[in-house]
Symmetry: C3
Amino acid sequence: MEKAEIANRIESLASKSIEKMYLNDFLLTWDKSMDELESVFAVAEILRGLRGQNISPRIFDSGLAVSIFRDNSTRTRFSFASACNLLGLTIQDLDEEKSQIAHGETVRETANMISFLADVIGIRDDMYLGAGHTYMKEVAESVEQGHQEGVLPQRPTLVNLQCDIDHPTQTMSDALHLINHFGGIEQLKGRKIAMTWAYSPSYGKPLSVPQGVIGLMTRLGMEVRFAHPEGYNVMPEVVDIAKNNCDEGSGSFIQTDSMAEAFEGADIVYPKSWAPFSVMEKRTELLRAQDHGGLKDLEKQCLENNRKFIDWECTEELMRKTNDGKALYMHCLPADITGVSCQRGEVEASVFDRYRVPQYIQAGYKPYIIAAMIFLAKTKQPVEALKKITDGANPRFTG
Amino acid sequence: MEKAEIANRIESLASKSIEKMYLNDFLLTWDKSMDELESVFAVAEILRGLRGQNISPRIFDSGLAVSIFRDNSTRTRFSFASACNLLGLTIQDLDEEKSQIAHGETVRETANMISFLADVIGIRDDMYLGAGHTYMKEVAESVEQGHQEGVLPQRPTLVNLQCDIDHPTQTMSDALHLINHFGGIEQLKGRKIAMTWAYSPSYGKPLSVPQGVIGLMTRLGMEVRFAHPEGYNVMPEVVDIAKNNCDEGSGSFIQTDSMAEAFEGADIVYPKSWAPFSVMEKRTELLRAQDHGGLKDLEKQCLENNRKFIDWECTEELMRKTNDGKALYMHCLPADITGVSCQRGEVEASVFDRYRVPQYIQAGYKPYIIAAMIFLAKTKQPVEALKKITDGANPRFTG
Amino acid sequence: MEKAEIANRIESLASKSIEKMYLNDFLLTWDKSMDELESVFAVAEILRGLRGQNISPRIFDSGLAVSIFRDNSTRTRFSFASACNLLGLTIQDLDEEKSQIAHGETVRETANMISFLADVIGIRDDMYLGAGHTYMKEVAESVEQGHQEGVLPQRPTLVNLQCDIDHPTQTMSDALHLINHFGGIEQLKGRKIAMTWAYSPSYGKPLSVPQGVIGLMTRLGMEVRFAHPEGYNVMPEVVDIAKNNCDEGSGSFIQTDSMAEAFEGADIVYPKSWAPFSVMEKRTELLRAQDHGGLKDLEKQCLENNRKFIDWECTEELMRKTNDGKALYMHCLPADITGVSCQRGEVEASVFDRYRVPQYIQAGYKPYIIAAMIFLAKTKQPVEALKKITDGANPRFTG
């Protein structure tokens, strides 16, 4: 991106109403206004452009970014680390096993104890339905209170790195990928996206990606086709959000139990495995009860049921049904690829391979999306701050 | 804190005899002179003030701070990370399980191998009586020798992040909390502090906090009331230190086996569970012998014995006995709160709650205390260094 | 090192042909030209000299250095952390257990996913014969491809932190130690180095150190005596490389099954345990098959066989056979020291002790060797970059 283009994008931010982002969190995309979402896209692209120009957008000389990963992560962990590092923050991971938290400590106490010099807190908590988002809100309220009580010299900003409801750093990266692929956010209006379930030999994958996608893409004016086998529904509240978005905007939301129907004429397809909502609810109970036998039984049942839908695979044949046979294939990765990572999976190998590069590019937006979320939460005057960075032109690498 | 006040505090340092802190370690508070302790308090407050003014006290452009945690930690781990980050050092954790140390390597060798570019080493080693402090001294001697032999280009400074004897970063934070609460170090003279045992359903908590408190607060001229059930005594050497402090200064030291007696008219109460010294000695033997059966038996016995003292709880009733019923309640956290983290614990929930904010503020001094210990060990002329930082006014955050 | 000396060494770099190092990896020393190896030595010494002058060679304002440790490490882990920190990069460790990699993800995918903002990737993978180097090449090809495809904005540089074939950061540090000990690289020509097997009560140590040593020291014109009991041979390809080096240069390579013969008149001795090549091959099979019983049996057999060679110990008596009885004793550490870390080991305690300081100094070169490898891979014009650093004289520590 040329410097002039970077400057243009900075200018475009000036008209946005984004005051509420200051010192605020990023938990769910549907809590944010369109101006706020568009500003995240804009700042992400500006930061990416600046890095391309070897200009360092480092705004912190020191400061901690706390990470709390209650589930495995590679992509998001590295994206969060990259984003924080780009802005000058150092990651300090809260490893709950090596801490004294088991000890019955309250969330409020832990949240304050780790935040004395923390500017950001990133949390992944997607294992238990009804838990992750609740936990994040409790942490957010705790540090807000801590700041008001004079315990914390600053109010750390929370970034949701995947909860039980939404996965905003993923879906915002997905959306930025679409914006760049189709040539602008306006170009997304009316585009048909098939967010469909797909078969995987594993079980219990979180619902946050499909939920996040239907909750975000309906806002961007897309025609969202949501397809899954019977029983594989997601949280009803999020379906309502998707429908509401359509009532209020130009998007539309169609539910179907046929993958083929969803693919028909689609511009984008996003086939991905997830666990049925009711199974996730049961699983949550069993996990809480540490009922390992029960979990095993549930897994067995669930996998048996799953096998009935082994045909929900993104094949070349299905791809031919899409718009001009050339829909953009998306996945949050890692995908279960037939014949590569498993015998039968979410996607045929040749489809995956053809879209490998776009998918990697899609994943590559995440560090900048996260950095943009942090930037907009920490800078009171983001336009001025970005101009200062651009004018200063402090090199990231001087070798 | 206003800039003028920061400047005053820097000036006040000029009269202190603190040359010996340079390139030295911080292992036990009673190894330090009053001038040295007061300088730690002063620098901690200056660094906190500078952060409040958005001035970065970063003195390192690069450099490692090695952390060695031989026991779980949240508060201290994050405090050490925060302190090092504030000064520009990067934490490198020595995970003894992922290293080749089991291999029979000597402490001297490991200490040198991790220190080639290390400016600081922080160690928590509080599990074994007779071990933690001994280990820290061995590490300190090893890096001292390594520096003299030309192996290490610099002599890393050790900070005791809790050993079997003392927990100086905790007690110094506690003391700074008292100084600020009561309006100055002079205001602590004659204050009555009840350092008392309290019941917890767990077993085997380290002795370093009560030991550190009686060893430090007697030096600050306080009347220290040390109360515990029969058998729950601490290391006799530390009791001697507390008594000596009183002989040499204005403090006093009273031992009793009644919580109520200790609370009578107290200005401050610090009720906290710990293991009996003799149990810790036996536990140390069993841990060394990896005698898991023996440890279980000991735990059983100890918990049975413990239960006899279930009434050692900091209740509202007991709090009413303190000075004006308003003694400052302290805890190093996390506390065992009756009805919250356990059925019966160290403190009644309403007492804990009333003092929650002051306790969190107390904990919040630790990053600055640690940063001050490091600052005073690394800068040859701390007054000049602090003036340079203040004059330079390099912002911590530029967004 | 004086500033004038630093300047001289920078000047000496100007005549070297090192263009190919730019954006390239460091996997095997024998892939590099003599000019390239000499430049690594020179830059390592310049960086060490600059640190001694309190000049910061930080060339990155931000950026990640990814570490992947598939085996335990202390020395190399801290050296890599130190090197990256010195240049301004932040370590982000890929913990394969906490990631989603098990999931059947390809190496290409993981390599790209962790590299969006990564400037360096350091890998230790020495457990499986035929695997480590292959894995590193696959990672290198993946990020090269990712960069060409526009997925990665930069091409991260790989540093081999020990593979199944070579351990270049170790052997280059060893060589720099020899250069400084004997007064220049020219002084190494014709020196006799005994790279010999030695007894250890453990089993299965990697072959990469002896292989790396014979592969590198033959290039430096040394007379390499390679001694081991029957059956303890190393990869034949590397023996061929050592022989080829001698055909093309002034070095010589002698194989023997007598430790005494190798020590006769030696200037340097490097006695170290390793597993027989055939055992490593079998072990690799068993590890891959997760055949724990088979591994146990193999270990038993191997240790029994090992015991036959308990006399392969670097004793005072053997040392007396060396040149003037004063050969330089080397070890990559930690060593198995008789009577210290084990009953019978690789070296007599008095020999080890006499050479303890030189060994620690030897180990201390590793951070600078790694930093030099990175520096030469990232800077297009290293001479200019080093001059800029020297002229700028930005202090590492300003306290």
